[in-house]
Symmetry: C2
Subunit: 292 residues, 2 copies
Amino acid sequence: MAASQKPLSPRSKNDLAKNARSTSRATIGVFDSGVGGLTVLRALLDRIPNVDYLYFGDTARLPYGSKSAATVAHYAVGAVQYLQAQGADLLVIACNTATALALDEIKAAAGVPVIGVVEPGAEAAAAASRNHKVVVIGTEATISSHAYRRALEGRKVTVREKACPLFVPLVEEGWAEHPVTEQVAKIYLSEAFADDAGDSDADVLVLGCTHYPLIKPLLRRVAPEHIAIVDSAESTAQAVARQLHVEPVESGRRDLPALKFFATDSAEKFRTMGTRFLGLPVRDVLHVDLKE
Amino acid sequence: MAASQKPLSPRSKNDLAKNARSTSRATIGVFDSGVGGLTVLRALLDRIPNVDYLYFGDTARLPYGSKSAATVAHYAVGAVQYLQAQGADLLVIACNTATALALDEIKAAAGVPVIGVVEPGAEAAAAASRNHKVVVIGTEATISSHAYRRALEGRKVTVREKACPLFVPLVEEGWAEHPVTEQVAKIYLSEAFADDAGDSDADVLVLGCTHYPLIKPLLRRVAPEHIAIVDSAESTAQAVARQLHVEPVESGRRDLPALKFFATDSAEKFRTMGTRFLGLPVRDVLHVDLKE
C-alpha cells in the first residue's frame, strides 16, 4: 500500500487536548467504508470546529457488512494507518461495521487514541432511557453483529434490535423527505416498537447507522412522541469533545477547519454524494489506491 | 486460489449440443456476483432441463458495481475458471456488471463457450420493438456502463436508460408484491417513459437486472399496457438453448437436473436467500474461498 506502515509514536491525551485548544491545531482522522461517516464528521465540525480533519472513505471496497471480521479489520487498519501517516492525532471510526467487528484490532494497530461509534451511542441511550428499554435500528450487518445489544446490556438496558435495510438505499436515492420513505419508516418503526406482550415501553430510539441522521426529521415525525432519538453521530462527537477536553462552542464563533478527503473509488462520485451527506461542499478529494 | 488455473481444452459446439441431447449430459456453469443470477438459472431450468448445472455466487465480494473493470475481470475470471475445473462445458455470465465490464476477458480466459446476459436481452428487445424505441431499467452500475445502449444502438434501436436503485433492496427485503414497491415502480416507470417532447413511443421495457424477474408481475401491472416486457434472464436461456440446439421442452416432461451451488460468503445465507430467487429449494451449497 501507498502509506507508511511503520508504527507511529503514541501521543498523550494531554498533547492532543493542548493542540485542540492552542494554535498548533490537532488533526482528527475520520474513517468510514463510504460517505455515511460524513454525518459523523458533520457532528464533529459542529461540536469541535477548532481542529483540522482528514476523512477516509473506503468507497471501492464497501459495503463492509458482507465481509468477514478478518477482512474488515485488514481494510480498516490499512485505512487508519494511512490517516496517521497523513497526520491524524486521533481516530474516529465512523463505520458501525468496522467498530463492531474490528475496533480492538484498530486500537492495537494505532499509535493514537481511537473512538468508535457504538460505545458513545450506547452510553447516550442508556443515559436517556428512564425505562431502561431501548430500540436500536441499523443495517442488517450492524444489527446481526449485536454490537449495540452488548454495549447496552452491559449498561443494564433491555434492547430490541431492528434491521432497516431500505433506509440506506432510500437516503442514497435522495429520498430523505419522500412519502415512500415515510411509509417505509412507519412500517419499520411499528415493527420495532411492537411488543408481543402488549406493553412495549421502550423510550429511546438509537440511530445505529451513519446514514440515518439524514432522515432524523422524518423519523422524529413518525416515531411516537414520547420516544427520545439518540443519534450515534452526535454522541460520538460529544465523546471526542470530552476526550479532547473541548468546551462547548460559542455560537457565532465558527472557524471553518481544514477538510481533506480520501476515497478509494472515484473522487468525483465522492464529491457529489459527499456534499449531500456533509451538508457542506466537499472539495479537496484525493483518490487513494490501497492494495489488498 | 483453490481452482486450477491451467487453460482447459476447448470443446466444440457440436460436442456440447450432443451432450445436451445424449445420456452423457452437458454441464452449464452459471456465474453471478450474488444470488440474483439464480433467476437466470431458473429460466435455464425451465428451458433446458436435460443438462446439469453449477452455480457460482461471489457473495463475499459483491457488489461488483462499485469496482473497477480490472477488479471485476479478475474476480470473474477466477470464478469461471473454478466452474470449469468443476466440469462446466458452457458458461453463462448471469451478472450484468461482469458482462458489461469483463465479457471479453472472460471469453479470452475460458476454454469453453461463454454467453453473457446483455446481448440476448438486447437482441430480444430489438426484435420485440415495432417503434425501434426501448426503455432499459437496471442498477446504477449497469445503466452507467451503457452496455445495453451500445448493444441496442448497434441494432438501430433508440434507447432510454433508467437506473432503479431501490428495486434490488426492495426485492431483497422480500417486498416483491408490497404496496411500497408498487409506489416506487410507478415513480420510476413514469420517469422512464416520460418524454420531454411529449411523444414517447417506446414500446419495450428491458429488465436489465437479474433481480427484476421477481417483480415482473408487479411491473406488468404498473407499466403501460402496450409495453412488451423483455426479461434478460429468459432471453439468455433462449440464447443458451440455441447454442446447444435444444428443442423446446415438452410440457409434463421435467427431469430435475443436478444442481450444485458455490458461494464465497456464508453457505447458510446463500441457501435462505437463494431459495427465494430460484423458486426451488437451494440445498447443495459449498463455501468456496477464492483468494484475492
